[in-house]
Point group: C2
Chain length 378, copies 2
Amino acid sequence: MSEILKGIWRYQQVSRVELVDQIGLTSGTITNLTHELIQLGILRENEAISGNVGRRRVMLGFDPRFYRIIGLDIGRSSFEIVVMDLNGTILQSIERDMNGLQGPDAYFEVITPLVAGVKSDIEAAGYKILGLGAGVPGPIDYDSGTLLAPPNFPGWSNYPLQKMLEDQFGLVTLIDDDARTSAMAERWYGLGKNVNNLVSVTLGMGIGGGVVTEGKIVRGTNGLCGQVGHMTIVLDGKMCGCGNRGCWETVGSIPGILGRWSGGSTIEELQGAIKRREPEALRCLEDTLGFMEAALVNIQNLYDPELILLGGRLYPLLSDYLVQVKPRVQSRLYAFAKDRLRIEPSTFGNSQSAVGAAALLFGFLLAEPVRLLSLREK
Amino acid sequence: MSEILKGIWRYQQVSRVELVDQIGLTSGTITNLTHELIQLGILRENEAISGNVGRRRVMLGFDPRFYRIIGLDIGRSSFEIVVMDLNGTILQSIERDMNGLQGPDAYFEVITPLVAGVKSDIEAAGYKILGLGAGVPGPIDYDSGTLLAPPNFPGWSNYPLQKMLEDQFGLVTLIDDDARTSAMAERWYGLGKNVNNLVSVTLGMGIGGGVVTEGKIVRGTNGLCGQVGHMTIVLDGKMCGCGNRGCWETVGSIPGILGRWSGGSTIEELQGAIKRREPEALRCLEDTLGFMEAALVNIQNLYDPELILLGGRLYPLLSDYLVQVKPRVQSRLYAFAKDRLRIEPSTFGNSQSAVGAAALLFGFLLAEPVRLLSLREK
């Protein structure tokens, strides 16, 4: 079943004949399995008029009419819920500013009523919920679903988030590092559908990275693979919350940038000062772009992806200057590789991590549909 | 067959009953396939006395009596040939100093007679040669088997090495980046047998890296994955041959280190000066270790391996000081991860890359035994 779902995911609409060709199962088996998936409300048949002869063909696609997935992004300064269908369409999105709130108790006072409300609305409208995904600042202990020691996120060390969410809402729950959920969003619903190797970089209150290698998210031994924010960019630089010195995050995240500018306390104020061409603000920007340039060269030389995606709350500031950074990065790469480098904005803007959190469940559905549906019933 | 060979590789000696358990094929199929592999000279039966009851069991292992693999390391200042059997035993090793020689023509004047001699000796003694592997400074275009633009290796750009070796010696030939062959040696014959995620770092005239993720060597989009020598360590540092600035290689390779010391022109001289506690030499050493410390922290935070292996011609110098570097690296990692970090010397010393070049063929044998043997016959 997994192969069938993956085939349909890749091409959106596929006929049974095409599935037989792609997967190599017999047409009888394909017919039986797709029948079962249709009964389960995962797939549906659509009629398509093909070519100019106008022949009707029955195409299979995901069925958006029964299941919903809830995705949460629990961030350092914001919280978001998205509701998605099986086609990857965002049906609803709610955001909350979390500045000033600290630790799980304060967060859950906001999160609990919002998620409970969304959940009961979905069920009242007759839909079933496949599960709930959450992106949070990492690192995470995946065996226990516990946050470890996320830098700049006080109060959350050792918090058993997966279990708390599960107990609270009674849904199948998956959690992951928010940089990795952002990569998941791209992998399943965005540009990663057609790209086997990508690195997704999230620039905000922290800097995170999610690495997809040969189509698969890579977590590493301790769940730390892709911690691009914690590569040393300034030798003997400032101490970072992670234990290292001179991390990219210490100079390239929102607090890192604002720490090098005395003219104000928000990125919007800095943007204003840059527009007014104030020398200190311009120097701060220039340094920020320089750090980013070195970091992107390192990402390219260490992971060698086809595509680097940039997103997060800092992206709107940086996007104006990417035009300058890109050729500077390219000029520092191996000559034969530089023209192949693609740097793109991530597909889902501020919703990237929440969409990716929903994608965790979508990935689970594609890998083990029967197991996910049976977990739901418990 | 591939599954059987991998099972035997992992445990060295395995009974047919254990194979049935591990692989899940029927015992009839296992018997047929192992019989075929024994006929082919790949496997052999050994009798083992098991436990204290003294029961005799027939164990399967690789057969070292028929096939040989030749591994070459074509380096910037040295050349090596090793001959190995299917158990991973190094039967012969020949090294040549290549200092002063430049470009393929000068190299092949040395390489051709040596390899031809080794080949005819093997054949004269009645053995068959499974194939030839070669490690070279990368990057490589894998489709065509051509060297691209290896930094500090003049004359080799766009050289079709794979084809030249194949034509010259008439053997099945595989080539790879020497840092990646070093990782291969570890993966197939060394510490990587029991470790799924590792990074092998080769420090010498250049600095290279080979990355194994979930048991597989990762090459990336352009064959550049793992170019740890080309991460920026000194922001706005010196230009590097790769196009980037301030690469670890510019300050941490043999030329990089000697470029920061005015007292001599070899690493051995530097070692002497360090022993005499000459201030400039001590400062050069201290800086070298500082760069290495930052680089190892970056490797850990970006790839999150279980194991980092250090090798190459610089290793004998650095090994005396690793005792200092290791706790300094650990103190800069996430608290929960630092005690799990292992940094070890690579298993095969100076022969690492040549052994790994032979391992390319061993990996091919394990993945596609029938195809490799039929290519041999052509």
